[in-house]
């Protein structure tokens, strides 16, 4: 039976309802008694009309069309798709942690403020930074915060000539996007033949017009930037600050800390390193850690502890301001705090140990199939060059699509841009050896099939809810609203 692919609007039938308000007698003010005539809605919004069981089935059936960590392997590089403990969902659902209004007086939310304060302190210890703000709503929002802090720092010193931010060519897309959003000119520095930042090239580009260097370490190739201590010296000698993109933090917990490596500001991705669920793309959370020199500029509010009482401090004269409303993604913060408490310091360190073990194991296995252009070992992830596949008439994208038929989510593909036909593979620590072996065997099987008949692979997948989509049509004949297309 073909699945029912009707939209919720197409299942709608006038007169159906899936929810009922309590029965009570309320004063019957008419709309025109309450509102100006011309502000009263004329035509009802086209929301669906369904019974409760139909709504539940609609969304349950939609869920079945998704691949997720709970379904199977998800080795998406730089995304750290580790197991998201169910325990943390139960914790976040505790009524006394959930049913709290953001403007409740601080004395009525002491438990939550303590929880957030705990998380701030734990992140400081993990990162070696001097202070942490939990405000940013996502990694990119954390980057925006960090670069805004850097600008405030330079401005405060009266140093207005710094107009550039340096990023390596292997950086995440959010890095240059953030720098541009903060009004900086983005300058790219090439990687060297080892896949790490070319310090010589950096020295040529650095100067008193550079506000910051944004790095992730290990970098997106999964390699540790060995020259980090020299890089930090080059940055600081020239008055620039060093930004740490925490996307790849899962490799180094309990091993080395960004603060100790000389980074001045960083963001954490709680939805990566600290196991909070990605939820189809969010909400995440991107707390920012800073060194002392940036503390005066932190976003509002800051949670403080004074004589055993937790306070919300909005009086920060040099603050960069507010980044979003209220306290950040507090529902995500609860889960991350629960994770850190469950793991403990030694548990976090072993998470990094096994993340690196799993990545190196896969690397060693896949090295027999693909060229892995950089390094001989890796940290938590590595990047394979898929051009070997061209021998069999297929590309990285074909392999990625074929993997879907085997219940495996493909790696991040065609990123970083500096590797041809790139496949960026991050298995994470929570995967079993059995899963890793299955992944390697499956790739082998797909290549064998390609050798027999490349067209079957070029048109994969076959067993997924839909097959390859016509993206040209999607972008040319834009249809992103059910009704406006019907009205046309």
């Amino acid at each position: 039976m073909r699945r029912d692919d009707r939209l919720v609007f197409e299942k709608s039938q006038a007169g159906k309802r899936g929810y009922y308000l309590p029965n009570e007698k309320i004063p019957e003010y008419r709309l025109n008694e309450m509102f100006e005539e011309d502000t009263i809605r004329q035509e009802a919004a086209g929301l669906p009309e369904l019974s409760e069981v139909e709504v539940v089935r609609h969304y349950t059936n939609l869920s079945k069309l998704n691949h997720s960590i709970d379904n199977g392997f998800y080795p998406l590089g730089s995304c750290t798709m580790k197991y998201n403990p169910k325990l943390n969902e139960t914790v976040a659902a505790i009524g006394g942690l959930k049913n709290l209004h953001p403007y409740q007086p601080p004395e009525t939310i002491q438990g939550s403020l303590e929880l957030m304060y705990y998380l701030q302190e734990a992140l400081k210890e993990i990162s070696g930074m001097d202070e942490v703000s939990l405000q940013p709503a996502a990694g990119a929002h954390g980057e925006f915060t960090g670069i805004s802090l850097i600008r405030a720092y330079h401005d405060d010193r009266g140093d207005h000539k710094r107009k550039k931010v340096i990023v390596p060519d292997s950086a995440h897309g959010t890095n240059p996007a953030t720098a541009a959003m903060c009004g900086y000119k983005v300058v790219e520095v090439k990687s060297n033949q080892n896949g790490t930042l070319d310090v010589q090239a950096l020295k040529e580009k650095i100067g008193d017009d550079v506000a910051a260097i944004m790095l992730t370490n290990p970098n997106t190739l999964g390699l540790f930037e060995r020259d980090i201590l020299e890089i930090q010296k080059v940055a600081h000698d020239n008055g620039a600050l060093l930004y740490y993109d925490g996307a790849n933090m899962n490799a180094i917990m309990g091993k080395i800390r960004p603060g100790d490596m000389g980074f001045d500001v960083m963001h954490f991705n709680l939805h990566k390193t600290f196991s909070t669920p990605h939820g189809m793309g969010g909400p995440g959370s991107g707390p920012v850690g800073v060194k002392k020199c940036l503390i005066p500029f932190l976003p509002k509010p800051v949670i403080k502890k004074e004589k055993g009482t937790y306070n919300i401090d909005n009086n920060i004269p040099k603050s960069i301001g507010k980044l979003r409303t209220f306290f950040g993604n507090y529902n995500v913060l609860i889960r991350a705090a629960a994770y850190i408490m469950t793991m403990g310091g030694d548990g976090l360190e072993s998470a990094s140990d096994y993340a690196v073990l799993n990545a190196n194991y896969l690397r060693a296995k896949l090295e027999k199939i693909f060229k892995i252009p950089y390094g001989t070992k890796c940290m938590h992830e590595f990047v394979a060059d898929g051009s070997t596949l061209e021998e069999y008439g297929i590309k990285t994208m074909d392999l990625a699509k074929a993997l879907l038929d085997y219940g495996v989510h493909p790696p991040t593909v065609y990123f970083p841009l500096i590797v041809h036909e790139a496949m960026m593979i991050e298995p994470t620590e929570t995967e079993t050896k059995e899963t890793l072996d299955y992944f390697v065997q499956t790739i082998g099987k797909i290549i064998e099939r390609a050798k027999q008949d490349k067209t079957t692979i070029q048109h994969a997948p076959y067993n997924t809810p839909v097959r390859r989509l016509d993206e040209v049509k999607a972008n040319k004949e834009i249809d992103c609203n059910f009704y406006s297309e019907k009205k046309k």
Binding site: Y59, N66, F326
Partner: protein, 457 residues
């Protein structure tokens, strides 16, 4: 010396057996894990993290329950506190469906073939938001109402290639602060537009005065922070070139005319009222809709309908060339992770309550609010601060310190109203409180609250 000494490493959520570890190390060609970390400069290594040892789940749960008991849980409170986040009734069918792992533990739908659940849901969500706002296109979510308003400002300045932006002084104060933070990078000059002292509505004369050739657009609240309903058509009539941004409570749009129908170019807002739990305002959901002609300048993810190789209906991300992972330094915004899962909650909420249900809920809120407002306005020492129409929230002026009201109310298991002076530093607002009413407030609670307010006399 490693402070861990001989202590065994914690292994929570790590599935490896000792045999497997040995075999894996062998395959890699190292004799122990330490060899995998030799690239790290030894002089900067840490021995261990000074964090407590891991907790068993029973202990963790006990600890978290202890913390929760030090909070005032509003579940059994009458809540008259709003200011952007409201306690509404949440249909129970939502929770068990949205916490399915297939929704919760999926990533951004980069591989469309195995993400059709997310993608179709986003497409439906976009349609619902477009319908409510009266605009043609909506994205699949932003972080919250504040950042959505800030992104609307960036987009307006980008579309118009101008760098001055006007903001109603009656917009949510936190939204204005967020906009100011976002304005610094591109060097946008933000100017406030006054509101009328009697009505609380935007001062149209002041708007006229403040528009000049550098002005890209203006942002107003609908309802605004004081609960007052702006007349969007009249604002539009002042100037037809400005990009008119309207920041909404989307629940109100089931009974109030859609801003898009009254000339708004961009509509943003906070959709927590659509099934979102309070969570200190953390379960926020920014919405963002715009006229079709600006779609290429919009921030965030947009999902489109297409067909697959077999000609079957399917959905995928579109216009990705606007986004950071493709466009890098030239992207329309740096947003990547958004509030996708909260958009699922809102979609399911809107599907359950449906076309007529949403209107009933909004009407319930508005009627109860008007009933309470009339009651309060009749009391000697309270008065309505503004005389323009409102939706479910209104501002009262009291002869008491609003903190005193709040404190007394807490003793009666009532949270609110919100002392406005707390979130603005304006001296003339120190006696103002914002009263929010929703369908979660039963009539007897409303009467009880009114009686207690009167008792304060």
């Amino acid at each position: 010396m490693n402070q861990r000494g001989g202590k065994k490493l914690g292994k929570r959520y790590i599935p490896h057996t000792e045999d497997e570890i040995r075999e894996m190390l062998n395959t890699i060609g190292v004799s122990n894990m330490k060899e995998l970390f030799v690239e790290l400069p030894s002089e900067k290594r840490v021995d261990c993290l000074r964090l407590k040892s891991g907790m068993a789940e029973a202990d963790l749960m006990r600890k978290m329950l202890e913390l929760s008991e030090r909070n005032t849980n509003l579940e059994n409170y009458s809540v008259f506190m709003g200011g952007g986040i409201y306690k509404h009734l949440i249909p129970y069918a939502i929770q068990s469906v949205v916490e399915r792992g297939e929704f919760l533990t999926a990533y951004t739908p980069y591989q469309a073939e195995v993400s059709q659940g997310s993608l179709q849901m986003f497409y439906e969500f976009q349609t619902m938001i477009a319908e409510l706002t009266g605009l043609e296109v909506a994205n699949s979510s932003m972080y919250d109402g504040g950042t959505a308003a800030a992104e609307a400002m960036l987009m307006s300045c980008n579309v118009k290639r101008k760098n001055k932006y006007l903001v109603s002084k009656a917009l949510h104060p936190e939204y204005i602060e967020v906009m100011k933070t976002y304005a610094k990078g591109p060097g946008i000059e933000i100017e406030g537009v006054d509101y009328d002292d009697q009505t609380g509505m935007l001062d149209l004369e002041d708007l006229k005065k403040k528009v000049d050739q550098d002005t890209a657009g203006v942002m107003v609240g609908y309802p605004n922070f004081f609960g007052v309903i702006e007349n969007i058509s009249r604002i539009r009539a002042i100037n037809d070139k400005l990009l008119l941004g309207v920041s909404v409570n989307p629940l109100a749009l089931s009974i109030l005319e859609a801003p898009g129908k009254m000339g708004a170019d961009i509509v943003t807002g906070e959709a927590q009222p659509f099934g979102g739990s309070l969570y200190l305002g953390g379960m926020s959901l920014g919405i963002f809709a715009s006229k079709r002609k600006y779609i290429r300048k919009m921030p965030g993810r947009i999902i489109g309908q297409t067909v697959d190789e077999d000609g079957n209906r399917g959905f995928s991300m579109i216009l990705q060339t606007r986004e950071q992972h493709i466009r890098r330094g030239k992207a329309t915004s740096n947003i990547c992770s958004n509030h996708a899962h909260n958009a699922l909650v809102a979609s399911m909420y809107l599907s359950l309550v449906g076309k007529t249900g949403l209107k009933k809920i909004a009407l319930n809120c508005a009627r109860k609010a008007h009933y309470l407002a009339e009651k309060i306005d009749r009391m000697d020492r309270y008065s309505m601060r503004f005389n323009a129409p409102f939706f479910n929230e209104f501002t009262i002026d009291s002869q008491f310190d609003p903190d005193y009201i709040q404190e007394k109310m807490q003793k009666e298991k009532i949270m609110g109203p919100l002392p406005i002076g707390k979130i603005t530093d304006r001296k003339d607002m120190q006696n103002l409180s914002l009263v929010a009413v929703t369908e979660a407030n039963r009539m007897e609670e409303i009467n009880f609250f009114a009686a207690k307010l009167e008792e304060l006399l």
